[in-house]
Structure formats: C-alpha cells, structure tokens
Amino acid sequence: MSFPSRVILLLILLGRFAQGADLISMGDWVETIGASKLVAGAGSDLQPQIESVSGATILTISNAPGSWILRARFSGTGGHPDVSVQVKRTSTGSGAGRIDGGTTYTELTGLDAEICSGTESREGIALQFRLTGLSCHVSPDTYVSSIIFTVQ
C-alpha cells in the first residue's frame, strides 16, 4: 500500500472513531388548547394532561460505537411556568443494538435528563409527549418549548 493510501485509510479510521453516535430526529408536536379541551364544558377546568400521539417525534441513533445514553433538555424557557412538558419512549425501534428504559414519562427542564439508553444503532424510536399543569389560569398565548436531544 502506497503512502497516500495509508494516510487516507488512517483518516477514515480516525474519523469513524472520533465521530461517536449520530442522532437524527423528525417530527414536532403542535397542540391547540381551546374550549374543546375542558373536562366537562363551561364551569370545568382544562384537562390537566394532554398527550401527543405516539411517535410525534421519531429518533434514529446511528454510528454508535458501543453503549449510549439519550438525554433531553429545554433550550430556553420551555414554555409557560405552570405547564410541564414530559416525554417517553413508545417503541423500541429497530436495529442491531439494544434499547432500555424511557417507557415512563420524564419531565423536561433546562438540565439534561436521561430518557433511555442502549447500544449500537437503533432506528425509528418513537417518542410521545405530554403536557401537564394546564388550567384556566394559563393565559391565552402560543408557547414554544425547544427540546435538545443528545446521545452520548
């Protein structure tokens, strides 16, 4: 093998090891909360919990050299202070690796929280979101919670 070929091979190998796992996410959740979400019409309060569909966000973890942990946190304020955003895993996805945990809701904050863990690549991991703390004291507005997922 010539010298340039060896250099190229070395770069490729170094690149694979240096990259770590890759994370790709698809799908946002948009929910409109109006009078139809009252528990029992006029006189009642809003449903305290509202869930997204299962698979509102789909994650794919690839190029994972070994075990990994998926974490999530808010970027910014996270929305109305009375309302919590929670997330859970609703499918295992598919792939060579394994996936554990994350099947009960985890409340998101500004700090990384572990959602689930696994090994190697997993494709099509479905997530479901839930809003809690809704009431008629949450003033009409549009609240945006940006969520950062990290796999390490």
């Binding site: 010539s2 340039p4 070929s5 250099v7 190229i8 770069l11 490729i12 690149g15 990259q19 770590g20 796992a21 890759d22 994370l23 790709i24 996410s25 799908g27 946002d28 959740w29 948009v30 929910e31 409109t32 909360i33 109006g34 009078a35 009252l38 019409g41 006029a42 006189g43 009642s44 809003l46 509202i50 997204s52 966000t57 994650l59 690839s62 190029n63 970027s75 929305g79 109305h80 309302v83 955003v85 809003l131 809704l134 008629c136 004291h137 949450v138 003033s139 009409p140 507005d141 549009t142 609240y143 945006v144 919670s145 940006s146 969520i147 950062i148 997922f149 990290t150 796999v151 390490q152």
Partner: protein, 164 residues
Amino acid sequence: MKNSIKTTIATVIVSSLAASAVLAGPTAQQTVTYEVSAINEISVSSPTVSLTVNAATAGSAPTAASNSSTTYAITTNESDRKITGVLNSAMPSGVSLSASLAAPTGADSAGPVALTGSAQDLVTGISTLNESGKVITYSLSATSAAGVVPSASKTVTLTVTAGS
C-alpha cells in the same frame, strides 16, 4: 499525473468525512408548541324558566313572580371579563323581566337588572376561573296598567365578554 489523481481522491474523501460530521452529530432539536386559545364559556342548568304574575295585594301593584331554580356555569382563561344579558325582543309595555346573577369568586354582581333588547352588565370583574352552580334569579313584574298580557316567550342570552 498519478500523484495529482491520488491527491484529488484524498481531498474528496477528507471533504466527505468533514461534511458528514457537520450534517449528523450527537444532538438534535425538536419543538413542542402549544397554543392556548381564549376560552369564555358559559352555560345554564335549564333552558327554560316559567314566570307568571297572577296575584296582587289589594291596593298594590301586582305581585312580582320570582324564580331561582336556574344556575349558570362559567369558565374563562382571560382577565377583565363580564357577563351581559340581553333579550331577543323588548318586553311588552308595563312588563319587566329582570335577572340577578350570583357572582363567581372575585367578581361583582350587578344585582337585579331589567333586561332589554340591549346588552346589560350582570356580573363584572371576572378573571381566570371556572365555577358552576351560580344562581340566576329571574323576576317578572307588571304594572296594573299593563292589563292582561298574553303568555309569551323571551330568549335571554348570557355572554362572557371583555370589560371589567
């Protein structure tokens, strides 16, 4: 020439590696957006109330008829709301229908208010609450001069609207 080709290939591969590192990485971002719409809901426990003025004390005007069997329920997620009441058409001459709504927590009742074809304030100062079982008292009165008035139906529309 041979070295030039190798250099080009090496550059392409290195560039590809760099590009893949930029396009995919260990983080991803999604958004959860929830829009809370304005909610101003009111309902009454019974759609109909019957009132009949058919008695009087000699020497006095006919005795007013009163009914407190109806209640209302309200939910609002806004501040500075009020409840208004309006009739679908004016009452006959000499006949008056009034409504008095019990105020929900923190709000003020206007007490008995004669209803007309124009919206009247019945409760003011309502802010972000949900309550039910608030009593509505209707009262029908008539003067002697009104004479015998045929039975008629009126529709009272209660509305939660802006205004303190």
